[in-house]
Amino acid sequence: MASLESQSIPATGCSFLQGAPASAFAPEDFSSDERLMVQMAEQFSQKEILPNLDRMDAQEEGLVPTIVQHAGALGFCGPDTSADFGGLGLGKNLAARILEYLSLNASFSVTIGITSGISQVGLQLFGSRELQEKYLPPLCSGEHIGAYCLSEPNSGTDSLSLSTRADQHGGKWVLNGTKMWISNAKWANQFLVMAKVGGEKISAFLVERDFPGVSISREEHKMGLKGSSTARVMLENAEVPLENMVYEEGRGHIVAFNALNLGRFKLSSMSIGPARQAMTHASEYALDRKQFGQSIGRFGLIEQKFAKMAALFYAAESAIYRTGALIDSAFESGHAQYPDDRIKGNIRGAEEYSVECSICKVFSTEAEGQIVDECLQVYGGYGFTEEFPIARIYRDCRVSRIYEGTNEINRFFIADRLLRRMRAGTVIFGPGDGFIHDLCGEACALVSNLENPHQAVLGALADLAILTYVEQSARLRVSRNPAAFGQLHAVFCNWANAEAARAYQLISGNPVSLPAPAAVDLGAIAGLVYEKRGPVN
């Protein structure tokens, strides 16, 4: 089970800046029956999802809801919802690992990720017992599909500017507005909708599809994720019972943002699922395809690609499951701190590691992008056709960097939070944890003295924080398999040191000299990828 980090360094958000804890959770630490659950998720993907991709992308009527029901019957639709409401009551970290393996295809990943995740979490954390009893069990069983409605045509990143209204008339809430880009809209039975009471106070509402005044537009014509549903939800004098307000009037942003914190964490594992699948396909292809009388996988430049992919994957995975264990511990200590106030405890759990959640989101989605792009390159011209599986993965993965908060706004958020915590003295930087970590500390000091830093500077600061946390996580995991993981960590550092130097130079305007690169055996690492037909873990 999840172990708490470190003894000397307090387990609080951003404490990675103080230095490395004595240890951190790594995927190898899941217990054997937890691994069995993950293995079942992988089997489900292999047998029920991957053989059906063309049918899913063609939006075959009824197919996806049937698969969701099947998944629900096996327990995949509510792993971290309380057993009182039909879930399994597992921790968020294990739920994310299960979700990673249900995410080998990105379309299905969104469908199940939303219905088991962000559509439930608002109710889980903030809903009244009555709402939880009514709306969570059918989501957990897979009979219902859920959706989360924050974005609007004119309110995307600037989500608080939303204009959907809620007014009380005749003993009901009456909602008016349009929600844009709603995943699962075509199939969803219930929607968590953010609207402003009286046009001012943001509040969350549980809206059923069949309520009067609710309608769904045609599907968006998307570049990828064609097997998922994305459409508009139109609310025209939609009638919602008074008791369907989730949490309190004017506190919908707390519901929405805490759901998003956890959503970002989960999206991280959802984005390495397709990266894993891309590496499986590309490594098979690299062994199969012969040019100049040998497998292309044995050319040095192809080995180099696989070594870097393996290192990025390893690093992302290290950061994600370290963070998940921290989130689980934050919920535990939140509930211990507020034994009589469930919601306060939940807020602590969902908020404490919000910076780490954003770090995981940005790093994992960008690692996914790089991995999938290089996998396509391994296929050469064949990768550019729909005859091979990589083109679909390439189209599908692009949106990971856009939703659950674009990577730009997440970078802004990371830098902003970090500086606030530093100014408030709740995080104190401790030097001596390595090259990247030290650069990050110096950059924080430089930027906190700036009057009105350019966003590019804040972005560079966020990059340093991201690289610091991820490198530290990758390092803390090495002991689980020193021979292989040591090499992966070294490859990661050779790349990350240069990235960190670039970011620091942008902030300071001064050159930085890089540490000498570690010796790495690219052929041996690529060999491990070929042997495993995927990431090394």
Binding site: D33, L36, M40, Q43, F44, G75, A484, E531
Partner: protein
């Protein structure tokens, strides 16, 4: 009615294995383990029989170190009612394994022992037959269909010449082949429930005696490049030059 199923912990059948440098065995560092796939088919079959006849009790058994608990918990998650681990870190040859399970059969008195026809690591295909001989029980190997009626088992088995159907009195030993069934997905609630099902550990009934010794484990030699021939005559000439025709 009681069904005993054996569950062996084996190296993941899809993993690539390497011999140890001294040839004494297989290098297991960093290798994943799983339940023997033929045994999983046996567990699945027992669970299907129980679904038809809920009075059936299923006992999953294994022989080996504490780590075998993992595979027994998997059998419990699939639907076995309890598990027994004969705990030992010694090396057993197939006859010694059969003897240990026979001792357990005497203690547990099952009406039917269901087991994989072989395990994917040793590929011996012996333990079931040996147990039947030691117990003096009827046996049906390579089962592709199993029907239980009061006191009897009807087993269809796959042979080189076709299907053969046998009928025998219980108690009996039945070993499973691939086509008997396809093991189900294990539902996550089943895995959680398995945590609290009973798993008993007991010492072996006697000290392990291995009458067969492993002399050497070697990797399969790498295949050398082939040669393209232009005609049948050329092929025959090439083969006879190698003494193959």
């Amino acid at each position: 009615m009681k069904i005993m199923v054996t569950v062996k912990r084996v190296i993941d059948p899809y993993a690539k294995v390497r011999p140890l440098s001294d040839g004494s065995g297989v290098d297991t560092t960093g290798v994943k383990f799983d339940a023997n796939p033929f045994d999983e088919i046996a567990v699945e079959e027992a669970v299907r029989q129980k679904e038809k006849n809920p009075v059936i009790e299923i006992v999953a058994v294994s022989l080996g170190g504490t780590e075998c608990e993992e595979q027994l918990r998997k059998a419990l998650a699939m639907g076995a009612d309890k598990a027994v681990l004969i705990e030992s870190s010694e090396n057993y040859d197939t006859l010694a394994v059969a003897e240990e399970f026979v001792a357990l059969v005497k203690a547990e008195s099952p009406d039917l022992v269901l087991m994989g026809k072989q395990s994917t690591d040793g590929d011996n295909n012996q333990v079931g037959q040996m147990m039947a001989a030691l117990l003096g029980w009827p046996q049906a190997t390579f089962a592709s269909k199993l029907e239980l009626a009061d006191g009897t088992a009807r087993v269809t088995r796959e042979t080189d010449t076709g299907e053969e159907t046998l009928e025998m009195n219980l108690p009996a030993i039945v070993t499973t082949d691939l086509r008997l069934n396809e093991p189900r997905y294990i539902a996550l609630p089943g895995i959680i429930k398995a945590r609290s099902k009973p798993l008993e550990k007991r010492p072996p009934s006697s000290t392990a005696t291995s009458r067969v010794k492993t002399v050497k484990v070697e990797a399969v030699p790498a295949r050398s490049a082939g040669k393209k021939v232009g005609s049948v005559d050329e092929l025959v000439a090439e083969l006879s030059a190698r003494g193959l025709f």
